[in-house]
Symmetry: C2
DNA sequence: TTAAAAAAAGCAAGCGTTTGCATTTTTGAT
DNA sequence: ATCAAAAATGCAAACGCTTGCTTTTTTTAA
């Protein structure tokens, strides 16, 4: 029948078409009104927004993504959901992304569940993303490569990019660690020790290296080095016992993360039956919110994590928009902060 | 020219069409092979997967969503990104969702940035989601309603649903809190106190109510009640001083969350110059991973958070798939756990 | 064998946008 | 008033998949 056309969808959400018809403009104009408002005259724009509002219209993302080939989605790859540091990370990424009209999603690297053919949801999601922020610290180069395969923008966060094609934003771990050695030396520490998590992680390696080298320089010998395998409170806690039972226990501990520092501190305190020897110095590394959850005014090497994350995110989004402005390496300095007050 | 058709896209990702052509089947079959494998014969299926694999094909989500009107996305609404509890939450939701081939995204409720017409990205995202898990504990009923507007499935997590149309999964806060009063009474506590965060939050209210009522029952008087406004470590820490300076300071504290308990404990410890009086009892409420980051073996009312979250997620996804099986209320019991050992 | 039922595969019409290009309207300068 | 340039709008072809329905193939039962 001729009038079939006038049948309106009774259910479902309003589409741009609905708005267009109601206002009396073309679908195109409505579309532009939301995607490139500056291309439509103020008069029409106002009318369109008014109607859109009344009809409860808002653009269908799927359709938009399909048509424009841009998802305005960036993925944050981390290797452990549960690491408290990653919470901050995700939060800052989200915040910055939101300001640039992007949205961030979390991608876990652990799941090597490629069994199900190439159909895994992770895989598809990866394909949808406009760019990738890779923060996994002990991620194989191979994995990183795989990310860039679809000529997707990627920015490495937290370690110098190995591949010259990728930008990276990272902190000066060696430098920061060296400062700790200086600090120990200045404070008359006799037997410095290093406690790290996963020895494979580049951050651990860098922090160890920077520390060990500077210690040798100051002391002429190597510090005690322990790597407990993971960034884990309990393991650090237990490490305290082992170290205290050494014939000559250390009197200065440099922990590769704040979580380790807190764990170790708690462990030391638990053990310490003769407090008259004075508490050993414990120094951490990081800027997690963790410090806000404990009573220790931890001395710690810090770096401007929020700045770094926002810079990385921002840079990523920039390179997505424009035609790749050549990869950059953006280092951030570390500073040793004594007993940072809570909050 | 007649042979134009054979021109292949030189750039970009392989599409289902490409795979179909290569294998020699129809586009439809390829599509089904990924969406409903059971509908295609094993022979063809294998061939298709092989080719898909070789070509690096994986379905374009945007297209799929557009065509099927299902995003396989669920949103988790929380009111504070940074709350450590919400980290767990998101993690469990993600895990469960992933098992059901869904993906979870985080939606923040704080941002009342509707200024920008109806075009905000949050708004659009909300529209894309197949269902919503609402965990914001002090969320207005109005906001919740707005969520359900597009006949979207929603499950309330953490408090009894006010609206009979929504399912909810929650813990028995009153009951748990009452157990604390029992515990205090059994342990000869003389002056019980309650320390809560945001008084508006339903969880706070319920825990307070359950505790106060049972205390009255046992003691014949009301406990001291303090609400510090937010679930914040530092504020709890400081509250310790205020309470200790009372003419008759409490000797048993029930804190509405674990974070508060830890903060208060630290604060008490900091203050406590005459330890011979014995340490007061501090009891928390919750099951966050927080307890794994501190040395306290906190006595605390716990509930099976992982179970709860997975149940909620699962239930949500179920109701998305099928035609709504009538809203349910799924309560979980709380139990008081004495000095839970660290992990 | 053969017919009916079940399984597998294909057709084609969407899904709701974006966007290059063409067309119309407005503006501004003569 | 006149015309070119700029601004605003419209047209229609994608974008890559899903799905109701139809057609073909295979299986099952008689």
């Amino acid at each position: 029948m001729a009038h079939e056309k006038s049948l309106r969808k009774t259910h479902g959400v309003a589409t741009a078409q609905d708005v267009a018809k109601d206002v009396g403009v073309s679908l195109t104009t409505v579309s532009r009104c939301f995607a490139n408002p500056e291309l439509v005259s103020k008069r029409t724009r106002d009318k369109i927004f008014a109607v859109a509002n009344r009809l409860g219209y808002s653009p269908n993302i799927a359709a938009r993504v399909l048509a424009s080939r841009r998802s305005n989605l960036i993925g944050l790859m981390v290797d452990d959901f549960k690491d408290p540091d990653n919470l901050d990370l995700f939060h800052f990424v989200s915040a910055e992304a939101q300001q640039r009209n992007f949205h961030a999603i979390l991608l876990n690297t652990n799941h090597e569940r490629s069994a199900i053919g190439s159909g895994s949801i992770e895989n598809s999601l990866l394909q949808q993303v406009d760019g990738l922020l890779v923060s996994a610290s002990y991620l194989s180069q191979e994995t990183i490569d795989r990310c860039a395969i679809q000529d997707k923008r990627v920015v490495i966060l937290g370690r110098k990019s190995g591949d010259p094609a990728f930008s990276s934003v990272y902190s000066d771990n060696e430098g920061g660690a060296a400062q700790v050695a200086d600090y120990f030396h200045a404070n008359k520490i006799q037997r410095p020790a290093f406690v790290g998590g996963n020895a494979q992680a580049t951050v651990t390696a860098e922090r160890r290296a920077g520390f060990v080298q500077r210690v040798e320089q100051h002391y002429g010998f190597q510090p005690i080095v322990r790597e407990i395998g993971a960034n884990d409170y309990t393991m650090a806690f237990n490490m305290a016992e082992e170290l205290l039972c050494l014939p000559k226990p250390p009197d200065g501990y440099f922990c590769a993360t704040e979580l380790l520092a807190v764990g170790l501190l708690d462990g030391l305190q638990e053990m310490n039956s003769n407090p008259e020897r004075g508490t050993p110095l414990v120094v951490g590394f990081g800027s997690s919110t963790l410090s806000r959850l404990t009573r220790y005014k931890l001395t710690s090497v810090t770096y401007p994590i929020e700045d770094m994350v926002r810079t990385a995110t921002s840079h990523l989004i920039d390179t997505i928009g424009s035609g790749m402005t050549g990869p950059k390496r953006i280092p951030f300095p570390c500073v040793l902060t004594e007993g940072a007050p809570i909050d």
